[in-house]
């Protein structure tokens, strides 16, 4: 399995550490309330298909990236830096 690091290009999966769904980028406000926090920390869409998830290029350039991927086929559709995804998300 290989993942496209936006900085380094396609790299072996063993250079990366997994973190899970990219909803982790959308951290609620401190006062958002227990339901919002439960949703953020625990509940997941968990699609059998295209998902966006977070990987850390730990044995590489140390970038956190968001990979768009199909969980049913392992096809990789693209990736961006988590910092860019976060900035884009905050802007919207």
């Amino acid at each position: 399995m290989r993942l496209p690091c936006p900085i380094c290009g396609a790299r072996d999966r063993r250079e990366f550490t997994y973190r899970g769904a990219a909803v982790a980028l959308e951290r609620p406000d401190a006062e958002a309330g227990p339901e919002a926090w439960d949703d953020y920390v625990h509940n997941r869409d968990n699609p059998a298909g295209v998902t966006r998830d977070l990987w850390y290029h730990e044995q590489g350039c140390a970038a956190w990236i968001v990979v768009t991927r199909n969980t049913a086929t392992h096809e990789v559709l693209g990736s961006i830096l988590a910092s860019e995804a976060r900035r884009a998300g905050s802007a919207s």
Binding site: M1, A10, A30, L54, A63, E75, L81, A82, R86, S90
Partner: protein, 976 residues
């Protein structure tokens, strides 16, 4: 029997080898199977369940019968296919799954009991009496089952692993693969051509077919030479592609020729991970048997294998051969045998319309319906329109058609597609990203079609990758159409084998269907068909056909089971190469490692690091003596401990303070330059992740420490928080763990020791408790931190790592001159337990700040990671287990980490569980055993007595619940 003038081993070096204690001779280039057949050895093994005599059936890695054990002692290798074992001088092989001998096997009695041992019989019996399963039935079954045996000795582990990268991977170096590789390479692509055989050529090595007017084998040699001369081609023989994985990653097992493997330093094989942008599956096809009564006797072989032994190795597998098939492969075998002067007793063709111009007895529209002979084939029963006829024969060559080797194309789940004309499963289109199938693997069975298909696939792959050219003239070769008539099983009495290795017969599959195991997966799992070492390569399609028939469905509706890696079995030692012994994980050594070892300290694994347990001195015979002395040394004088392993992270930038406020529960932005603060980090789930210190070295420069165990996790976490949550903060992180050697200098004489080294001494006023700053020592820039994990007046001193070894020696020597010395992890542990300082024994992932009494460290003034989740009601309930210290007050003065706590008088059962002990030690300072633990509502129960029970080690005592800090509660020694 060798045939003069046949085969590619002609004129080569003779080799002697041993099978079951008898010495034989073969030739260089032989496999063990070809050499055994040349020596007239017919029976080479026993089947799994019925212990039926078995002989060589195929000429490749799919061999189901001829599994042998090679070598002895630690070199013993079980379950080796004789058909792929290259003969070498002194090779020592023996048959397996028999006792006492191959010829006389007591478990052959199973064959007589076959009516009771049909599919799934064991699910219906062996249930009474209950304890007999483990005591009687299972041991008997286990002993009878299994094939070869492991030696029990550690593997010598001479495998290696490697990576390779290419534009195009061509899998299989037969006519298809050779053309594909050359075509793509000529266009400029980087090509890897891999084949499991010892030389390129594939079926061309086994046939009398000509290519471009020369023998197929000669043509293959020329092609291989041409490819080898190209700089962008890597030909990998003896290399089986074993698995297809995501994004063009392939696993491969390369076994090394014996002479190479024996060179000093060489590996006996390589487990490759090949990354390819495109691949061509040119893996050919495997011939399949036909199920008829007693089709498993030694001497019954695949027709194509008979040709291979004859044409490649010059061996006639019999003196009188019956050939039986439903397609032209049978005719080809009969022709080759006839031409080589081997007696063909009959050519039996189930196709009623078949014709034959060979001068051999020909039986069109007929079938072989039975065979005879116990340890070797003696005769064959043929059923035709004229009735049944028995012919003497010592070899029966069978062809039920060919199964394209679709396996790799299906490793990513898609199922192969049934082709009713070819009576074969073909690789599904686009099953595997970047892979196309060509040649026989794609259902092109003529040589010419393979050559054409390979050339086309190679050229298209290259074009797809952006290369131009690669047009090749396709050589002339036979182009016979595929003509096959369905024949899976010959009706009749007697058992007809489908899965030879697991002894699964037509009846078993029918029985399974009868008992409602009608799904192909149920049939497989109930009968074990396809689960043997050949993974159904010889049996799957026929078994499917039988199941389809038994359930009234067609083959495509019945479906196939899943193809899974590896294509051929791979030794654990190959995939796990380098993992044994110390190779399992890197070793991290501290700057003081050598000095520490010289001082005789036993080393303890701390994550990947090694740290000293204690530093034994003369006359100390027990670790406790050393530990107690080291504790007393720190409490009374001064101790030195290497703490380089603690994670150190530079956090710099205008927003460093804001960033740290967000990751720590407490405020760091308010920390003054030159000061240190203890910090607690939570996970977002509200539990404690790690603790450590945070030093402010400059207005925009903080230095954090983490625990040794959590250094990597914390760095990953900080990068996550920065990049994924707060990229707006202008802050930069760098791990500097390894750049600095750091030593704790602890004890009442620590300042004296430190000042002896510093270029400019420090005092309480200039350097109070929790101060930090740059210092110089011996002209070197160093850092000094007045922090303590022992509760004593203490410092940590950091120097560039290159000076670490020298500084440690210097510190220890000076400490010893002051009645102090080095201390290890044991003493460090005692010192911190006395002070109630926590480690990962307490912050074990399930504890909250509330549990360890640090809830007030979660600042109310700001948000931080984990704050919201930590406020969940369940995480702050008074009834939670809270950190306390314990001391035994019963008759038994013992505390055991891992023991559980109960109210005095309660039974020691789950329902009454009140907590547990996490850390214990004998405190030389306090003069008794103390421990830390968690007790329900513990903070409110100081002074109570609780019962500690350790069932495992038989300990039961009363303990007093104490405040976690048992030594110097007001911290006077830290500040003094």
């Amino acid at each position: 029997m060798r045939i003069e003038g046949k085969g590619l081993v002609e004129g080569r070096t003779p080799i002697s080898f041993t099978f079951d204690g008898t010495r034989y001779q073969g030739f260089e280039g032989d496999t063990l199977a070809s050499a055994l057949l040349a020596n007239g050895v017919r029976m080479v093994g026993r089947s799994f369940k019925y212990h039926r005599p078995r002989g060589v059936m195929t000429a490749g890695s799919e061999e189901p019968n001829a599994l042998v054990t090679l070598g002895f002692g630690a070199a013993q290798e079980p379950n080796m296919r004789a058909t792929t074992v290259e003969l070498r001088e002194g090779l020592w092989a023996r048959s397996q799954n028999r006792w006492p001998t191959l010829g006389f096997d007591l478990l052959a009695v199973n064959d007589l009991a076959a009516p009771f041992l049909g599919a799934g019989f064991y699910y219906k019996t062996f249930m009474w009496p209950r304890r007999f399963w483990e005591r009687v039935y299972e041991p008997l079954i286990r002993r009878a089952a299994g094939l070869g045996a492991l030696s029990g000795a550690p593997d010598e582990d001479r495998y290696e692993r490697a990576f390779a990268h290419c534009d195009l991977l061509v899998i299989g170096a037969g006519p298809t693969g050779l053309m594909a590789a050359l075509s793509a390479a000529k266009a400029g692509a980087d090509v890897i051509l891999a084949d499991e055989d010892v030389a390129p050529g594939g079926r061309l090595l086994a046939e009398t077919i000509e290519v471009d007017g020369i023998s197929g084998a000669a043509w293959a040699r020329e092609m291989a030479a041409e490819l080898a001369a190209l700089p962008n081609v890597r030909v990998m023989t003896r290399t089986a592609i074993t698995g297809a994985y995501d994004q063009g990653t392939y696993a491969a097992l390369e076994t090394r020729a014996d002479a190479l493997a024996r060179r000093p330093g060489a590996a006996c094989g390589t487990f490759w991970r090949i990354v390819a942008r495109r691949s061509i599956l040119a893996a050919g096809a495997l011939e399949r048997p036909i199920a008829f009564a007693n089709n498993d006797r030694p001497g019954v072989m695949m027709a194509g294998a008979v040709r291979a032994y004859l044409n490649r190795w010059g061996v006639a597998p019999g003196q009188s051969v019956v050939v039986f098939g439903n397609n032209d492969s049978a005719h080809r075998t009969a022709a080759d045998l006839d031409e080589a002067g081997v007696h063909v007793a009959a050519l039996v063709d189930s196709r009623h319309y078949a014709t034959c111009d060979l001068d051999v007895p020909f039986y069109p529209g007929a079938e072989v319906c039975d065979t005879q002979g116990r340890r070797a084939l003696e005769s064959v029963t043929i059923r035709s329109a004229k009735g049944e006829e028995r012919l003497r024969a010592d070899c029966l060559a069978v062809s039920g058609g060919w199964n394209p080797s679709v396996h790799l194309a299906c490793h990513m789940n898609p199922r192969p597609v049934w082709n009713a004309d070819l009576l074969a499963f073909l690789p599904p289109e686009n099953a595997l990203p970047g892979m196309v199938a060509a040649g026989a693997a794609a259902g092109d069975f003529s040589t010419r079609a393979c050559l054409q298909g390979g050339a086309r696939a190679g050229q298209e792959a290259a074009r797809d990758l952006g290369f131009k050219g690669g047009e090749l003239a396709v050589p002339m070769a036979e182009d016979a159409p595929c003509d096959i008539f369905p024949l899976w099983q010959v009706p009749g009495r007697g058992r007809a084998w489908l899965d030879f290795q697991n002894d699964v017969t037509v009846k078993d599959v029918q029985q399974a269907a009868h008992e409602n195991f009608r799904s192909v997966e149920h049939m497989k799992r109930y009968t074990t068909q396809g689960m043997a070492p050949d993974q159904g390569k010889n049996s799957n399609v026929a078994a499917l056909a039988v199941l389809a028939d038994a359930t009234g469905r067609g083959i495509p509706e019945t479906g196939t089971t899943t193809f899974r890696p590896p294509y051929v079995p791979v030794p654990i030692a190959a995939i796990g190469a380098g993992g044994s012994g110390k190779g399992f994980a890197p070793e991290r050594l501290t700057p003081s490692h050598d000095e520490t070892r010289q001082r005789g300290a036993p080393m303890i694994e701390a994550g990947l690091w090694y740290r000293p347990g204690y530093f034994p001195r003369d006359k100390e015979t027990h670790w406790r003596q050393s530990c107690d002395r080291e504790v007393n040394m720190v409490r009374g004088a001064v101790g030195v401990c290497d703490v380089t392993t603690l994670g150190k992270i530079d956090v710099q930038g205008p927003d460093a303070g804001a960033f740290l406020d967000f990751v720590y529960t407490n405020m760091m932005s308010t920390l003054a330059v030159g000061r240190v603060r203890y910090g607690l980090m939570l996970r977002e789930d509200g539990h404690v992740m790690d603790d450590g210190t945070c030093a402010r070295l400059g207005a925009q420069h903080y230095l954090l420490t983490t625990t040794t165990a959590a250094a990597g996790q914390v760095m990953r976490h900080l990068e996550f928080v920065h990049q994924a949550l707060r990229p707006d903060l202008d802050v930069r992180l760098a791990s500097v763990t390894e750049a600095w050697a750091q030593f704790a200098v602890a004890g009442p004489k620590s300042r004296e020791l430190v000042n002896g080294l510093l270029d400019a001494p420090v005092g309480d006023a200039t350097f109070p408790y929790m101060a930090c700053g740059a210092v110089r020592l011996g002209g070197i820039n160093a850092r000094l931190f007045r922090i303590s994990f022992s509760g004593e007046h203490a410092y940590e001193i950091a120097v560039p790592a290159r000076y670490g070894a020298a500084l440690f020696s210097e510190l220890v020597a000076r400490a010893e001159a002051m009645d102090g010395g080095a201390y290890g992890m044991e003493a460090l542990n005692v010192l911190r337990i006395e002070k109630g300082f926590i480690t990962h024994a307490e912050i074990h992932g399930r504890t909250t700040a509330f549990d360890i009494g640090m809830q007030r460290m979660i600042s109310a003034k700001k948000d931080c990671i984990g704050k919201a989740a930590a406020a969940r009601p369940g995480l702050v309930e008074e009834g939670r287990e809270q950190l306390v210290a314990l001391k035994p007050v019963g008759a038994v003065k013992e505390l055991l980490a891992g023991a559980h706590l109960f109210n005095a008088g309660d039974p020691a059962t789950s329902a009454h569980d009140q907590g547990y002990v996490t850390s214990t030690c004998f405190s030389p300072t306090l003069g008794h055993v103390i421990g830390l633990g968690f007790l329900k509502a513990g903070r409110a129960r100081i002074g109570e007595r609780v019962r500690m029970v350790d069932h495992l080690r038989g300990s039961d005592t009363l303990c007093e619940v104490l405040d976690p800090i048992q030594f110097d509660k007001d911290g006077g020694r830290l500040r003094g």
